[in-house]
Homo-oligomer: 348 residues x 2
DNA sequence: TTGAAAGCGCTAACAA
DNA sequence: TTGTTAGCGCTTTCAA
């Protein structure tokens, strides 16, 4: 191995192996029409010299970079980190790599990063669009796949999200089984479409169950532990509910604190069901029983859809991935920890 | 805006604005020696057409891609996600972008991703080296900055890590203040250099304090919640320690469970101090008091060092960043939540 | 099966 | 201040 292996070019390899650079290129890209003899000589020269093909030049010529962009709110958020991991895993399998950008839910950053993406000539991008920023999006010629519920504002673009309705249903069925009755609800930011869907699903299922949904107790709060704790305290003032279904795990965890602080026990006095599947929910005591969003799978599927779109597939679908129920300790037990999965849906 | 903006080249802009492509190039790179007239015409043409310079071609010519690689064990791990976020933030400020790869602590993957990195012609890379895989590393001509304690095996490469000794000391001083005495230790994987440093620091400080360090109680366990719980149970069998110092937050959280299960109270009967600063430690009840590693800062600093190295700086230093103490509820209180920071160290 | 030659879109001498 | 020219390292016709 020479030490300046990085600066070798196929011309060097051509010289070393006594063939033309075209032949070197053919061997390198695994073309068929190369003699065994030539292939061997080239391969040897490559290995002896430690030569690495310059992907940049290759990309410029071929128009493909083998890179995709991933534009998410925040990689430090466990949910998005999982999504990223899923996308990376799928990318690695196809020898692609992922360029990650954080929008911090800021349309302006989203816009800037989108520009950076197109300039880097990524082959495509996966993005979780924030409120307004993506007029740019539609304009860009980069193949795009959207993730998250906000994706619905762009029905013309393929997308993948979690099936919140199915997740809610999964949870409610579990409550029915345990004979806990209609839950009180802890919900977050009223602006999110996710909230509406959550409450809507509960109402719908509840009505079908014959629950008195007009009397559904619903407490708003911030999408944080503190917010959940406060909301739960307020809820408790109106009477102790047998079971609470929170629209996210942070609030559920906060609710758990509030229950404890009120001198009540979970799950004996108040049962709690969360929604998200953040890792933090594992460590509470008792561990939080929750509906888990298929975060990693979302990333993986998004990459797969993007891959199809890049390959020229015209009708890439919208996908809705099933949530699963992870049993820990905040609902009265059936038979201990387990995971129940639902069915996925794919629509075009 | 035309719709095929993506396929325009500077030649089109040259034609549109009636100058040569060199002039277009000059305007685009903000060169000084361009007439106002020309600059205006070019700028207008660019805006009218929606042209975006092809970074690929630029990179090929200039030898700079504006991308750096980040090779870490797992982006889904909160610690590494924070590191990644720090690196991205610093990169964004310098108009660079970050290509992230996961090694999963596997030397073989590390090797493959390192290859992918060099082939993508990143300007440099930040890597957390795993056990053996990086002979490749030294051989590669790519500017490198290492992160994590394993970096010490490569003294010739710049690195940034957290100052474990300082962190331990910070924690122990807190125990002294609260008059808790010498802690029992919960430690993980014996192979990690981090473990040795942790225990070593405790011994050293303890001796200086006049603690009976020969009698130091030390319990091994897996680096998980379960591992911590089991280790704590075993510890408890030998007598209830007044305070436990865990080498990582997961084990500390497990210990908290074990204490509760033994019918003991934390922090009244057994006080617990963790080490890491994982987000999960916020949600336990009581919240875990812990020594927080400067994860985001590590990523940011690593990028900055890399940047210097890319710029040609020959003696980029090793950096050791200070940990901080975050007070929550598992130590007897002083005056409520607060963060105490230590001093950083930079060595060359 | 091979090689020569023409670019991919841009930058950077160099000359004007 | 500008334009001309020669590549960056590779792929890809086209002929041989």
């Amino acid at each position: 191995m020479t030490d300046n292996a990085a600066s070798l070019t196929i011309i060097d390899i051509a010289r070393l192996s006594g063939v033309s650079k075209s032949t070197v290129s053919r061997v390198l890209s695994g073309a068929e029409n190369v003699s065994e003899e030539a292939r061997r000589k080239v391969t040897e020269a490559v290995e002896a010299s430690g030569f690495r093909r310059n992907e940049l030049a290759r990309s410029l010529r071929s128009g493909r970079t083998g890179m995709v962009g991933l534009l998410i709110p925040d990689i430090a958020n466990p949910f998005w980190a999982e999504v990223a991991r899923g996308a990376q895993d799928a990318a690695t399998e196809e020898m692609a790599s992922v360029l990650i950008f954080n929008s911090d839910w800021d349309p302006e950053r989203e816009r800037r990063h989108l520009m950076a993406l197109t300039q880097s000539r990524v082959d495509g991008a996966i993005v979780n669009p924030v409120q307004n920023g993506l007029d740019e999006l539609s304009r860009s010629q980069v193949p795009l796949v959207l993730i998250g519920s906000s994706a619905e504002r762009f029905p013309e673009l393929p997308s993948v999200g979690s099936d919140i309705t199915q997740g809610v249903q999964l949870g409610l069925e579990r409550l029915v089984q345990a004979d806990l009755g209609m839950p009180a609800l802890l919900v977050g930011d009223p602006h999110r479409t996710a909230r509406e869907r959550f409450v809507g699903a509960v109402r719908e299922f509840g009505a079908a169950q014959g629950w008195p949904v007009e009397g559904l107790r619903l407490q708003d709060g911030h999408y944080t532990i503190e917010g959940g704790r406060d909301a739960m305290k307020r809820l408790l003032q109106g009477g102790v509910p047998r079971v609470v279904f929170a629209a996210n795990d942070m609030m559920a965890l906060g609710a758990l604190h509030a229950v404890r602080e009120a001198g009540l026990n979970c799950p004996e006095d108040v049962a709690i069901l969360g929604f998200d599947g953040t890792p933090a929910a594992e460590v509470s005591m008792p561990g939080l029983t929750t509906i888990m969003k298929p975060s990693r799978d979302i990333g993986r599927r998004a990459f797969e859809l993007l891959s199809r779109k890049i390959a020229g597939d015209e009708d890439v679908p919208h996908m809705s991935l099933p949530c699963s129920l992870v049993e820990r300790g905040t609902l009265p037990t059936r038979e201990g920890p387990r995971v129940v999965r639902g069915e996925g849906r794919t629509a075009t």
